[in-house]
């Protein structure tokens, strides 16, 4: 008998019919002889609706109140799923973050769970009851609601699995596993049976939307095996474990595309150090940084572009910036895998593949297990297909 944490995302709980289907899925897991704890997201669309309400009032909202508003969605699904389980004779109860004593620290809107009142939940489980815990939310030291960032329910599930000593954390979503490429772009994409935390982390960092980056970091750090699988298909999904537990490790895990990027070029008599400090203080995640004597280039999520423009233009003179340019209509294509450093032919295959499609390479970088290239959006799909085929993915 194993103890498993099951996490269901918003698309799995999008309406009453789906919530009932999820409850039968949970019931099956229990009938296999497992004990379970369930973590839920908000119904698909609800969090976006709540965020819309907040930003409809002002862009300069109090992040603590933002958290109080957007955390409501999980509360609804937790109660509904408990009711659905009871309907199928499975004892269940909902737990909000304050009831389960899920404590977070850090900044509002992206809090980090550091403690869970295990005993409360374990007593529930020992009574044969299924705890349905609201994901995405925790409580701050000041007894306010603190959310964990978009996709934060994944992190809630991993942290609960770690703190309660679960054997595994199953992330149920609308895809049936982790693929070597997005099947919408690459019909031949292959599903992984098993993949390493490291590669999934790299995939998530460069734009794959399977799991929240932080949840993978937490799972890796706390040694919680993750499984990504579909709520709607009876498929085993993809297991995520430590690299050294994978016997037949493939050199390349996948090709990932990130679409919502802009390339920023800042020119002038700039001090790179103070400019990077400034960018860091805006809480931005930037990538593909290239530094030259009189300009700096990097990639940024396009939703952040306006804010960066505003902030840097205010300080342009002080910082020696003479020009800020934004290049749109680009995509970042990344190859992930240990083959990047270990396979001697990698670079030639990589550039050969891109060269088949375009000579317009806007930026390139490589690390131990990732190689990324920026190309015009119109070449994106062909580049992905060429890389996927030529690297034998």
């Amino acid at each position: 008998m194993a103890f498993i944490v099951l996490k269901f995302g918003g698309t799995s709980l999008a309406d009453i019919a789906k919530i009932e289907a999820v409850s039968l899925q949970i019931k099956r897991e229990i009938e296999f002889g497992n004990r379970v704890l369930v973590v839920v997201s908000a119904m698909a669309g609800v969090t976006n609706q709540l965020v819309g309400f907040v930003s409809g009032i002002t862009s300069y909202f109090d992040p603590v109140e933002y958290d109080a508003v957007v955390a409501a969605g999980e509360q609804i699904t937790a109660g509904l799923l408990a009711i659905a389980l009871q309907k199928y004779d499975v004892p269940a109860r909902s737990w909000q973050a304050w009831q389960a004593g899920i404590m977070a620290q850090g900044r509002p809107m992206c809090g980090e769970i550091y403690k869970v009142n295990q005993s409360l939940l374990l007593v529930d489980i020992e009574k044969g009851c299924v705890p349905i815990v609201t994901g995405f939310q925790a409580i701050s030291l000041e007894q306010r609601v603190m959310t964990l960032g978009r996709g934060g329910s994944d992190t809630s599930a991993v942290m609960l699995a770690a703190q309660l000593g679960a054997e595994r954390c199953d992330i149920y979503t609308d895809v049936d596993g982790i693929y070597s490429a997005d099947p919408k772009w690459v019909p031949q994409a292959r599903k992984h049976d098993v993949i390493s935390y490291e590669d999934v982390l790299e995939m998530a960092s460069v734009g794959a939307k399977v799991l929240q980056v932080r949840s993978v970091v937490a799972a890796m750090g706390q040694d919680v095996p993750l499984r990504v699988l579909s709520t709607f298909m009876d498929q085993p999904g993809t297991m995520i474990v430590h690299q050294d537990k994978i016997i037949d490790q493939k050199p390349f895990s996948g090709v990932v595309v990130s679409k919502n990027e802009v390339m920023v070029k800042i020119s002038g008599q700039i001090s790179t150090v103070s400019l990077m400090k400034e960018i860091g203080s805006l809480g931005l995640t930037i990538d593909m940084v290239s530094i030259q004597s009189n300009y700096l280039v990097f990639l940024l999520q396009d939703t952040e572009a306006l804010r960066v423009k505003y902030e840097l233009e205010r300080k342009a003179e002080m910082m020696g910036i003479s020009k800020i340019e934004f290049l749109k209509d680009i995509v970042k294509v990344s190859v992930i895998g240990l083959g990047i450093r270990s396979n001697q032919d990698f670079l030639s295959i990589f550039f050969e593949s891109i060269g088949q499609v375009t000579s317009n390479i806007l930026s390139f970088m490589a690390t131990e297990n990732r190689a990324s290239v920026v190309v015009p959006t119109l070449n994106g799909e062909a580049v992905v297909l060429a890389l996927h085929e030529n690297l034998g993915l």
Copy 2:
């Protein structure tokens, strides 16, 4: 400088524009020199939507989980209103029931507040901050969410006003006060400047939807003056105080119509006592009870009719019931006021007025300050108009 509790209903908070308007209303109140605490309902329609989700799963839901689900709506408006107030430079923060220590006892779905952690809220107010408290919800001894019944935010506001020693509780809604009749039915209806708790209580009991019955009981018992006024019109509204504080008391306060009624007739060799006990155990509110040797007649909300039919038919044989009939398409028309016992001409005017319209009187009863008659729906409007005019309302 007065300390006032302001309560805003769902229609006052129905969208972002209205939430902003409410925040300006609160700001004005503060600029008058008052200190305020605000209680909010869910946005109009949200609670119904959540109730719909629950009953979409099953009719036999766990009431505790129902409460966990439907309480989410108030959390959203509390956060949004705090953000809107901050936008207009009014320091504010949202308080959920568990944060404010609002404790309830009794049954889920209709809990009763018995304690509020005053010090937390008072500290906030003394700092010059406006607490925005979620109405309709409290916390049970078991640390679960407990809601207070439909319209329960009124009761939250009254209980907070009582426990924190507020001078007054202002109930902001979509009508600008309490009228002598529904202006939709009676264009000549008159708005009360002042009215007694007793009359409002009676009005609410017989179907007027201005305030939750329990909130009026609480206000009367704890001596909290209530004011009902419109969020959208700059009108003084209606003050509700003790009878003995009203100098110029009118004999009649109003004519109230209750539409969603069915008349139930139970025949057979029945024991009235055991039948009434059975009905009581179903948690029903019944009215206009008439007992004869071999039948019992009463009025019931039509939403309860199916459940009563089901429960009584199961026990029909045991209880000596030979027949259960339901009469629909009826309305209950009630006159409220102390004139019912004090005015010697009342009964003749009352029946004369009804006789002008119909001779089909299905039931009648009178107490000290209320007289009710049941007539066919098609005569309802004419009966109300005749009573309103002939009683000089």
